[in-house]
Symmetry: C2
Subunit: 211 residues, 2 copies
DNA sequence: GACAACATACCAACCAGTCGGTATGTAGAA
DNA sequence: TTCTACATACCGACTGGTTGGTATGTTGTC
């Protein structure tokens, strides 16, 4: 019954060395749908198309995969935002508003395709796993810090209320997005999320005197 | 070893009939800390101080408790907001800004004490349990609809951009709050959350021409 | 042949849910 | 008032399946 040493069917397997990234991608997809705790290691392995042996070869625990997946999430998002066309605009405020429009355009299709992996995971793990919490914090931080320079430049170009910082507004942008995802999940529809991000866009325009 | 019919130690037990509400309160506390999937029925029972028998006497499943707890969350929040002093102000915009200040003042102490039970739960359950998703949607909806009349009155009194609705702004308020909770969990500190809600307050003031 | 990259078989702990039973209350008949 | 019949509230041992994790075997590559 077992395959002989010279099986004629090579059992088309994923190329050697791809298991790690496949597991991270599977974690992204599965956790975004069901959350972290409800996702089992077996399930992640099945989605990734590898076995448990491969899983524990690359990660010492489920928690370690979560940390690696949070780092992977940052790497996955970075080029998507950096290479977007609005980044080539000259005016920093136009780049910021372009970014918000870009985020707005992403709010479409199935819920699990536009929601945030680290935002979902940190809600479950902030109190029980400090390693996961810190990894999610780092990912969110990277996003805010990537947004801050354009905001800072816009502040310098257009002025803004005194008690406001670039990083603070970047955190507000991220906050509205995370909240939009939560609201969208309650209806399983991105309509509410688009409404909320539209309010955010209006706020930014008003802040910089462009309404 | 078993207690005799006239045990001198009455084994101080919670009063008869209190198990159901104790279980709901325990669910609120535990899920806010660890999330829904990571919280076991045994754990909820232990926190509530009842046994599994009592649990399954009152709820046919863990999912049924989740639905009841979502409804209980609405009931728990309602009087807190209704009885707050800012509700007695005459001006609707002052009531709205007072509400935001009230929410701001709540962002203090341990994370699990100010975060939202239904917001946490819906992130995990939106795709796997439609009953839980709908119960969370109803709770969030109740909040937005409670906020909408004051917003509507403020719109009528002060005017506002055309393409804006009372319920839409109420949803934006809720969205910012939910996002603030996520960001706060990231650092396990409410400072970011306060910054974000402060941006929200400034937006509302600007919208109604009060900056 | 040595080492990394997998696969397979397995385990103890834990999980949601079940079930037979007990304790407490309550309504009606005598 | 008190006894019977029944309902509700609660208890905790038990079960079958699932969980994260391990131990060991196999395969491809340098």
């Amino acid at each position: 019954m077992a395959a002989t040493h010279s099986s004629p069917v090579p059992r088309n397997r994923a190329p050697r060395g791809s298991a790690r990234s496949a597991l991270i991608a599977a974690a992204h997809a599965t956790v975004r749908r069901q959350g972290y705790a409800a996702t089992s290691v077996d399930e992640i392995c099945a989605v990734a198309g590898v076995t448990k042996g491969a899983f524990f070869h690359h990660f010492e625990s489920k928690e370690a995969l979560a940390v690696a997946a949070a780092e992977g999430w940052t790497e996955r998002a970075r080029p998507m935002f950096e290479l977007a066309p609005h980044n080539r605009l000259d005016d920093p405020l136009a780049r910021l508003l372009g970014h918000i429009d870009f985020r707005l355009s992403m709010l479409d299709g199935p819920t699990e395709d536009y929601t945030c992996f680290v935002g979902t995971m940190v809600q479950e793990a902030y109190a029980t796993s400090d390693r996961i919490r810190a990894a999610c914090e780092a990912s969110i931080n990277a996003y805010c810090e990537a947004l801050a320079p354009d905001i800072q430049a816009a502040i310098e170009a257009y002025g803004v209320p005194e008690d406001m910082t670039a990083i603070g507004l970047a955190q507000h942008v991220q906050s509205v997005l995370q909240g939009a995802f939560v609201l969208a999940k309650t209806t399983n529809d991105p309509a509410i999320a688009r409404g909320t991000v539209t309010h955010l866009k209006r706020y930014v325009r008003m802040l910089f005197g462009r309404n």
